[in-house]
Subunit: 188 residues, 2 copies
């Protein structure tokens, strides 16, 4: 992509998140973002319809980065789900400022929905190759697991990462694994 687009969008989104840290979403103006980002006001409209669209795009972007980071951890590893989990927490930590804002300021439901969608997609993909062995429907299991995982991710960020990545990813992995070992694919 054209470098100018990269830089402009980064500046806008970054400034927007910065301001989100200081005041509520409704009080933020396009004007303010443009000035702080040192970007022509009109330029913002070339990329985003309005500030609601900007919020949407921010969430989309960060979730996409989260997925990408996890995928990089995934490739060529024998125990994918475990390392993917670690990758997720790593990314949350590295971009803590963003996720903290998105999970406490406005837009929480939007963000949670995206997160939910993403996790459930991964789980669906992960279980697509194995058959259901007991009488609980896969659908229900996935809903159950997704909610549980999203809840833990959210808790960890909102509570300012109270325990280390090692601990949180190990513990969460244990919870997933021991209760649903029949459900997840077995590696090695």
């Amino acid at each position: 992509m054209d470098r100018r687009i990269q830089k402009t969008r980064y500046a806008i989104m970054n400034t927007f998140m910065e301001i989100m840290n200081e005041k509520i979403f409704e009080k933020i103006t396009i004007n303010e973002i443009a000035e702080r980002a040192n970007i022509n006001r009109g330029t913002i409209y070339l990329h985003y319809i309005d500030k609601y669209d900007l919020l949407d795009k921010c969430i989309e972007t960060y979730i996409a980065q989260l997925v990408q980071h996890c995928n990089e951890k995934h490739n060529g590893n024998e125990s994918p789900t475990n390392t993917v989990l670690r990758g997720a927490f790593e990314h949350l930590q590295d971009n803590f400022d963003y996720y903290k804002v998105l999970l406490t300021n406005e837009g929480v439901p939007l963000f949670r929905n995206q997160l939910y969608k993403m996790i459930s997609q991964i789980l669906n993909k992960e279980v697509s190759n194995i058959k259901n062995t007991n009488d609980i429907s896969t659908e229900v299991k996935i809903q159950f697991l997704t909610s549980a995982i999203v809840g833990v991710l959210e808790w960890w960020v909102v509570n300012l990462m109270p325990i280390s990545i090692d601990e949180i990813s190990k513990q969460l992995w244990s919870l997933i694994e021991c209760n649903y070992v029949d459900f997840l694919p077995v590696h090695k």
Copy 2:
């Protein structure tokens, strides 16, 4: 000035200084600067003839900022020279990373010359309104003072700002004042 020009030049000069901190001037390539600054290589040539010109422009720019900062301190103050002096040290401290590089890496003579020129201009302006009272030529005095001041500024930066701004500016001011009180304008 067009925002794009500001940002581009800032990115180039900033990256250039960063690299100057890591390797000697001769080993630095335009390519490297462009990549690290995330700027199209051709764009650098729109602003600078080559890396020597870039070094020149950097020095010019930082000196101009130094002068501007001092002037802001100057305006509407009763004892200009003293506050101007403080302003100079403040600016050196705020942009320590730049000046440290310019005074230790290549380009030292270039930078010192510019500094020299700037200080002597200020002194000339400062004494233009008063007449010479003794038998030492104004010319010689200005050369003497300029060298002394530049030397102290340079020493302070190269030795990593070993004493506080308060102390250094007070001490330097004393040296200037007590020896050349007949020479400098008397305020109030």
